[in-house]
């Protein structure tokens, strides 16, 4: 026997109850921590510049709180939660329905952002380079919108596999990790909404 084999032979037997946290969940929480730091910097910049915008248009003149679209996005957290719960208990059809509802709600929210930006650009003449408000507004809302779009792409990918019949109960943990990201994106919207549409006006 060589030295390694002796060493191996002397090792105590592995503990059968040795379970560590899922690496997918840990990694997603890490990513969320990193993303939170990025959003924090953009939120701080937004708050720092509130009320310091030298030339119009000013936030109070052009911004309307998108209440309906915000409700859509926030309720998509509930639907994705239901979807994961359905998949965990093996109800694949329910999973597909709730998952599709989540995509629809997310897409509705992005449509809301699209109409808002279209109005701001073509009616109010506000672009990212117009003034300080435009720069901070489009950056913060755009950064969040970018994250929603990335989330939607992931959701659509899972939906495609679901329609092909490739998603089943054993994938519940992976889908759950994706739902963590989606919950995070929704939570960030609460902060962005507060900063842009309540404090910022």
């Amino acid at each position: 026997m060589n030295a390694t084999a002796i060493v191996a032979a002397q090792m105590p037997v592995p503990d059968p109850n040795w379970v560590l946290p899922s690496r997918g969940r840990v990694a997603m929480f890490c990513l969320i921590a990193a993303e939170s730091a990025i959003f924090t910097i953009f939120v701080v910049a937004y708050l720092f510049y509130v009320g310091k915008n030298p030339v119009g248009p000013q936030p109070k003149d052009v911004l309307d709180a998108p209440i309906f679209y915000s409700i859509c996005l926030l309720s998509s957290s509930l639907t994705i939660h239901q979807a994961v719960k359905a998949l965990r208990t093996g109800r694949s059809r329910n999973f597909g329905a709730w998952w599709l509802a989540t995509i629809v709600l997310g897409a509705t929210f992005m449509f809301g952002t699209f109409t808002e930006w279209h109005r701001l650009i073509y009616r109010d003449g506000l672009t990212i380079s117009t003034n300080l408000f435009g720069t901070t507004y489009y950056s913060l809302v755009g950064l969040h919108g970018f994250h929603v779009v990335v989330g939607l792409l992931c959701l659509v990918t899972v939906m495609t596999f679901t329609l092909l019949g490739k998603v089943s109960q054993e994938h519940a943990d992976r889908v759950d990790v994706l739902s963590l990201y989606w919950h995070f994106v929704d939570t960030v919207w609460v902060a962005v909404f507060t900063v842009v549409y309540i404090l910022g006006r």
Binding site: A3, T4, A5, V7, A8, Q10, M11, P12, V13, P14, D15, W18, L20, P21, S22, R23, V26, A27, C30, L31, A33, A34, E35, S36, A37, I38, T40, I41, F42, A45, F48, Y49, K52, N53, P54, I128, S129, N131, L132, T135, T136, S139, L143
Partner: protein, 557 residues
């Protein structure tokens, strides 16, 4: 038939052609290969960054020198700082973490091998992007090539009006890309340490190396991200006409300083905590004692991690913050010396009464202890706001932070090279050359950075490309430049030693240091699968337990 069967083994025993081996390395997701790639990549950039430093020192060797133009001098200090932090220190730290963590934790690989490879290549291309600026930044503007805005790139220097051409864009993109790589590595390190430990290795039984890298990984997540956010803002300003840092349109130059230093100061701890991790492995093994105060060490590291995020504005005392702000940042900065002091006493207490073996890794560890203490002391001096008002942006500050980065971090990492070289290469390094490296580098380091404090105290500002005679700075600058010669010789001996030992060194065996952590239980270099059977541990020193079954550690922990 039978002749074919005999012919096969001989053709297999030939090493595969160069292209195949290159392909294997480029497509690898193995943590050991990626670790080595990080390290080799960092060494190449270490030489480049060193050459840039040498150019600056030659320029400053005497008053009114004209070795390089002021423009080139600006590019040199910008590229030197950016290269050394982002493309030498960070990849070295990540490289050792990558190589060692799975081996120390008894795992097959990192938690996400493909993410690991992706992060490496992002970092690699980030560095190439920075240096591509030498060719690509000129554009049609004729506006100079390499970035010249300083490594912290204060606004409004980076605005389109003051930085024409694309040099600043290359700088921004390069840090953005390598920043994503760093965040990926941070995710991987944390997930590996939390989720990949072998049976029995509870958090309290991990090697200190793993604990300290866990803190480092977590800090990367929340500290590199603000830099990424700031770089996105800078790109919005430069490309989309935004006004974040545009003072003409109501933007603020000071907020860039805040955003940069929220990253910039904790970054020092991201680099020095892995250096602590190395020292916490080397000192016990070469003192033949267990680490003194393991739980306190962990607690102090976590405390440093949190405190380091509340000290950034001590880089900005001269900006004119409120008295409240100044006081806050003075107190937090001084408070951080408590956990760092605890660590120094822990290492000293580990050595106290031990049977110290003065091999090269231990020499570098002792150099680290001494120099890190002095770096901390000048740090406390600079933490006092009135002292900082006097000496900010002088050579005193340059000497202080090089004492941290070279005297502490690079010394510890050199120690890490010698300590783990036998494991990584399977060959023993040449001890005589190792000692030459240590003494040459030590003498060079002290000649350069001890004496650099003095022109700073005499009022010499950093970043000036030349100075007039008669200010009392000439002699000191001459000594500082002479020190560079010794440092360069030391690094040459080091690289020669690495290469010579790889081809001519003696076989090292599995465990040349009679050490106690799991990486020494497998062969040198380790096989692709790391461990033939999954190890299990019952104490912080699993190999001690194996070697001393009559007196194992787990009876006492």
């Amino acid at each position: 038939m039978s002749t074919d069967a005999i012919a096969w083994p001989s053709s297999e025993s030939l090493s595969p052609p160069f292209v195949d081996r290159l392909h294997e390395w480029i497509t690898t997701v193995d943590h050991k290969r990626l670790g080595i790639m990080y390290i080799v990549y960092a060494l190449i950039f270490l030489v480049i960054g060193g050459i840039e430093a040498t150019v600056m020192r030659i320029q400053l060797i005497r008053p009114l020198n004209d070795f390089v133009s002021p423009q080139v001098f600006n590019r040199m200090f910008t590229m030197h700082g950016t290269t050394m932090i982002f493309f030498v220190a960070m990849p070295l730290v990540f490289g050792f973490a990558n190589y060692l963590l799975p081996l120390m934790l008894g795992a097959r690989d990192m938690a996400f091998p493909r993410l690991n490879a992706f992060s490496f290549w992002l970092t690699a291309f980030g560095g190439l992007l920075l240096y591509f600026s030498v060719l690509g930044a000129n554009g049609l503007y004729g506006a100079g090539n390499a970035p010249d805005v300083g490594w912290f790139a204060y606004a409004p220097l980076t605005s389109l009006a003051f930085s024409t051409g694309h040099s600043t864009d290359f700088w921004t993109l390069s840090l953005l890309v390598s920043g994503f790589g760093s965040i990926g590595t941070g995710v991987n390190i944390v997930a590996t340490i939390i989720s990949m430990r072998c049976p029995g290795m509870t958090l309290g039984k991990m090697p200190l190396f793993a604990w300290l890298n866990l803190v480092m990984g977590a800090m990367v997540l929340v500290v590199v991200s603000p830099l990424t956010a700031a770089q996105i803002m800078l790109m919005i300003d430069r490309y989309l006409g935004g006004h974040f840092f545009d003072t003409q349109a109501g933007g603020s130059a000071v907020i860039w300083m805040h955003f940069f230093w929220i990253f910039g100061h904790p970054e020092v701890y991201i680099l020095v905590i892995p250096a602590f991790a190395v020292i916490s492995e080397v000192v016990p093994v070469f003192s033949r004692k267990t680490m003194f105060g393991y739980p306190v060490m962990v607690g102090a590291t976590v405390a440093i991690g949190f405190l380091s995020m509340s000290v950034w504005a001590h880089h900005m005392f001269t900006v004119g913050m409120s008295q409240m702000g100044n006081t806050f940042f003075v107190i937090t900065t001084m408070a951080i010396s408590v956990p760092t002091g605890i660590k120094i006493f822990n290492w000293l207490a580990t050595m106290w009464g031990g049977k110290i073996i003065f091999k090269t890794p231990m020499l570098f560890a002792i150099g680290f202890l001494f120099q890190f203490l002095i770096a901390g002391l000048t740090g406390i001096m600079l933490a006092a706001a009135p002292w900082d008002w006097q000496l900010t942006a002088s050579y005193f500050v340059v000497a202080h932070f090089h004492y941290v980065i070279v005297g502490a971090i690079i010394f510890a990492l050199f120690g890490a090279f010698y300590y783990w070289y036998p494991k990584m290469s399977g060959k023993m390094y040449n001890e005589t050359l190792g000692q030459w490296h240590f003494w040459l580098f030590l003498i060079g380091f002290h000649l350069t950075f001890d004496f650099m404090h003095i022109p700073g105290l005499l009022g010499m500002p950093r970043r000036i490309y030349t100075y007039e005679p008669g200010r009392g700075w000439e002699g000191w600058n001459l000594i500082v430049t002479i020190g560079v010669v010794f440092q360069a010789l030391g690094v040459l001996v080091f690289i020669y030693n690495l290469l010579w030992s790889y081809f001519r060194g003696e076989a090292a065996g599995n465990d040349p240091w009679d050490a106690w952590t799991l990486e020494w239980s497998t062969s040198s270099p380790p096989p692709a699968y790391n461990f033939a059977t999954m190890p299990t541990v019952r104490s912080r020193r699993p190999l001690w337990d194996l070697k001393h079954p009559e007196d194992p550690d787990w009876k006492y922990e």
